[in-house]
């Protein structure tokens, strides 16, 4: 229970800091996502505590909140990628095209997985939900890993907040991919506890990453401002030698 509550408490601190530091101007979707997750937690916690609410009713409420959460996560990924390429017009078209193709490819993988590994019969609603969640996790973790690798390959520098958001969400999606794959296939009562622990544990790590990056000061890349005259002379000498062989 503590593992279920603590990430949301951290998320509340994250949401407060986003508001206080006016980070929401650049990442409005992320603030919306954080607030939504807190709201959804309060609702599900309340439903879980009310004895008259049946398991089926709780599952429907969980599915509805999860669907909105998934949609908001896509919004956060879009926000982070737009922030990354904002200053790089040379790459924007290539990045958009690459991301579009990655989405198509990952969606096809997700659909293929659903078709060829539809999950064990008899797992009911939760089994079906795990298959859908698995497909979504394939797309979201794939997109985030692609984005981070792409940025690294091109030497793009991330701003601290955007990088933290991408890493945190990537951890959550990748862990979701692993747990939902197991849940869709072999989830039983004996596994359910372990998988829930892994899911909430990864959510806690994700919230800690977000909090860490929000609290950490923005890194300054001041190489050009701190460069000495001798160093600039060396650049010039080397480049002139190289340009006029």
């Amino acid at each position: 229970m503590l593992l279920w509550i603590s990430p949301h408490l951290l998320l509340a601190i994250v949401a407060f800091l986003i508001y206080k530091r006016r980070v929401y101007r650049e990442f409005p979707f992320f603030l919306l996502y954080a607030l939504y997750e807190i709201g959804a937690f309060v609702l599900l916690y309340a439903l879980n505590s009310i004895s008259s609410v049946t398991a089926k009713q709780y599952t429907y409420a969980f599915m509805a909140t999860l669907a909105i959460s998934i949609a908001l996560r896509f919004g956060v990924i879009k926000e982070v990628s737009e922030d990354l390429f904002r200053e790089h017009s040379a790459l924007r078209a290539t990045a958009r095209q690459s991301l579009r193709w990655s989405k198509v490819l990952l969606a096809l993988i997700g659909i293929a997985c659903a078709a060829f590994a539809p999950g064990e019969d008899g797992l009911g609603l939760m089994g079906g939900l795990a298959v859908i969640n698995r497909g979504v996790a394939i797309i979201q973790s794939g997109l985030l890993v692609f984005l981070l690798v792409f940025a690294r390959w091109f030497g793009l520098s991330w701003r601290g907040y955007a990088f933290g958001i991408a890493i945190g969400l990537g951890v959550l999606s990748s862990a979701d991919l692993a747990t939902s794959a197991i849940r869709a296939q072999i989830a039983g009562e004996q596994w359910s506890g372990v998988l829930n622990l892994l899911t909430t544990g990864s959510y806690l790590i994700c919230a800690l990453i977000w909090l860490g990056y929000i609290l950490a000061p923005e890194r300054k890349h001041s190489v050009a401002a701190n460069v000495s005259v001798n160093e600039v002379d060396e650049w010039n000498r080397e480049l002139q030698r190289w340009l006029r062989p």
Binding site: E87, H88, S89, A90, L91, T94, C113, A117, R134, A137, I138, S141, G142, L144, V145, L148, V149, R152, W153, F154, G155, L156, S157, W158, F163, I167, G170, V171, S173, S174, A175, D176, L177, A178, T179, A181, I182, A184, Q185, I186, K220, H221, S222, V223, A224, A225, V227, V229, E231, V232, D233, E234, W235, N236, E238, L239, Q240, W242, L243, P245
Partner: protein, 173 residues
């Protein structure tokens, strides 16, 4: 069941990649020494010669098809090594450009924008060039378009960086 384990491994692999990138991002320092040493390692004339279509036509005319394919394959691998070096230099230029972009001095910031723009375009060119050279290495009998645009782009990028260096010099005098 195999798909399940593939997806579990994919999830864990994703976590590993994220951990690697997160730790590298914290420790990554932008050093111009690295950029200079990469520039030093590239002999632009030798690279120009390796991808020169006239040189290729000469080799094709003077060698037997078998010898030509062998030589062309070797030249393609050598050219690929140059392109990889150019790509590494482009990344360093891109980082230097982005750092300069955040300077409080508007002239340096403007130069930084240009450097980053040119370097990112160069990185894209190196990707295209690598694919084309790989194709040439694997199918040496086929002819291909020249790679002069890559060399020109590289020279333009270096020239922009040179301008930034001059600018800093003027300010420090």
């Amino acid at each position: 069941m195999i798909i399940t384990w593939i997806l579990v491994v994919a999830g864990l692999f994703g976590l590993g990649v994220l951990a690697y990138i997160a730790t590298r991002n914290r420790t990554n320092q932008i050093g111009m020494d690295g950029a200079i040493s990469v520039i030093r390692s590239i002999d632009i004339e030798a690279f120009r010669n390796l991808v020169d279509p006239a040189e290729e036509a000469f080799l094709r005319a003077s060698l037997s098809p078998k010898e030509f394919r062998k030589i062309k394959r070797e030249r393609a691998w050598a050219a690929l090594a140059y392109v990889r070096c150019a790509g590494r230099a482009a990344v360093l230029f891109a980082k230097a450009g982005q750092a300069a972009q955040r300077s409080s001095d508007p002239l340096i910031a403007e130069s930084g924008v240009q450097i980053a723009h040119s370097a990112l375009r160069l990185r894209l060119y190196t990707l295209q060039a690598s694919l084309r050279i790989l194709g040439q290495g694997m199918l040496p009998g086929t002819s291909d378009r020249p790679l002069s645009s890559l060399i020109d782009q590289y020279e333009r990028t270096a020239e922009t960086l040179l301008r930034l260096g001059r600018l800093r010099n003027q300010q420090n005098v």
